[in-house]
Assembly symmetry: C2
Homo-oligomer: 358 residues x 2
Amino acid sequence: MPPDPEDRSVPIDRLLAFAEKMLQTVDVPEEDARLTAHILLQADLRGIESHGMAHLVDFYVRALQSGRTKPRPDISVTRESAAAATIDGDGGLGFVVGHHAMGLAIEKARETGVGIVSVGNSTHYGAGAFYGMMALEHDMIGISMTTGGRLMAPPGSRGQAVGTNVLSLAAPTPRSFPYVLDMATTVVAAGKLEIAARRGRPIPEGWAVDGAGRPLTDPTMLQSGAALLPLGGATDTGAYKGFGLALMVDILCGALSGFGTSAEIEIGTAAHCFGALRIEAFQPISQYLERMEGMIAAVKRAPKEEGIDEIHIAGELEHALADERREAGTVPLHPAILEGYRVAADEFGVPFDLTEAP
Amino acid sequence: MPPDPEDRSVPIDRLLAFAEKMLQTVDVPEEDARLTAHILLQADLRGIESHGMAHLVDFYVRALQSGRTKPRPDISVTRESAAAATIDGDGGLGFVVGHHAMGLAIEKARETGVGIVSVGNSTHYGAGAFYGMMALEHDMIGISMTTGGRLMAPPGSRGQAVGTNVLSLAAPTPRSFPYVLDMATTVVAAGKLEIAARRGRPIPEGWAVDGAGRPLTDPTMLQSGAALLPLGGATDTGAYKGFGLALMVDILCGALSGFGTSAEIEIGTAAHCFGALRIEAFQPISQYLERMEGMIAAVKRAPKEEGIDEIHIAGELEHALADERREAGTVPLHPAILEGYRVAADEFGVPFDLTEAP
């Protein structure tokens, strides 16, 4: 979705400081608050407005305030072998639980070549890409999956029954940008409807259906019995594949962790699964990178549609945008989000100084 | 695709014997011929007509005859650690290479909890589901991926540039059927167009585009510059997700094995990746199965569209069909396939006795 002309440019350093302070106000330890603010910011830098700072107050701070999310969870490994582990997140912030679990997957991959860590009893972890990308600096491929909100209508059904479960994979390339896939298994993530609603815009047909199964264009109806369509859209264009991917993610997160799948678990809770593959356990890294370069170059050589200058791989444009925003020192936030911040800052007695950058 | 009224019922035992004989005629060792015939038959039993016995002669036997596929490959492990390995398939039959590699992944998962095996220098391995399903009897989740034919047009392009790469996952359930996802990352597998062409039927818009990017309904055009669309179809309904999944599979198969991705490798060759996760390494199997039952039951409880009696999970209908066909002792084959068999049987001096069952 293109940026909104109403958006304000918010200085990154002040935004980070504000987010850390707000999280500490609801009893999150300093280190965890810093980590959470960092992960949220990465989403905004990469243009993933649906999974970044927009949710800081209304979603995360409020959940901590109400006790639905624990600020000081006792994260524990409940089962472990050389390449596998299960983690109980104790209802903590998904960012903190996820960062811990992905760290363990990386540690295992260093020893055995592969690490898979299934996680139960967690909460929303933001954008999936962050965790997979933790593997990159270790010359590993990183995988991150999570249950999403129960908003998907399986093919043949009319109602919300399964999560918008997310699959993400990050892999090193020899280019300036890594390969970073990060996708909900619905046609679009729920956050895309939230953004459209905030901006008073309709959504295209093919994203969602109302309670009677008719195409939905009003993004505000998602909370009133409407449902998101699985990737693929209709049955004869592969909706059962998007649905199948959603259950695949559920199996690796919710069943393997023993916590429960998106069809069953309490709203606000989440299960995840993380994976790390050490490239040198399979292949000299130079050979791997050569094959990656071959793939990227071939994609970019493909004959283009009229009006298309370049074909991009997953994560490429997000990487360029993040560089641009880091350089500028600001990220855009919608005025409605900033107003929510201001109200919460007043309430918690936190100074609010996210004025517009020049 | 529903069965064709022209299809003939072919007795399973005679079909297996015929396939084994044909493969041995082109120098495949008896054991490998039996394995290959078995895997091909599983696809037909499960109704995956696009990946079964229909390809026996025109695809596999002809490739062996011409030397493009090696009947007696020297399959070797080129790199190995506790949970990871890379296999060089030496240009052998994908069935034989894949079966060997999945076996190694299962062995590793028994020791460390997880096994991932990347495979290069292989050929077409039939339906991906078979290999993941090998994990089921070991109380493991099985994963199988492969590069597919270079027939996908990336979003923004008009031409064939990337494979119809396949992702498959099989997981135990407490029901009579396992969960078995097996999907090309295009809207449909290329085999679906081949079947439509054989039957003289058009294909729906939304599956493929011609060389100018216009919707294609003539299935015979795929060999003339047309291309398959990625799962998601158009850009605003998530085509970049299907494309992203295709590259994900390419990375884990073609780059990780060092062999090369679908955008680059020679037509007729393939790279794969197999994974096995031992459930007990993560969770008591009873707890896992309880969560699976919860998931399946919740999906089946979802409100249904008019005219829909039941919502099915991936692999459920295929399992029921396989039971039915095993019971009947026959699988359907199109007369054009049987005619191809008859001609080849004559040519190789193999008795042809696949007459119609009563």
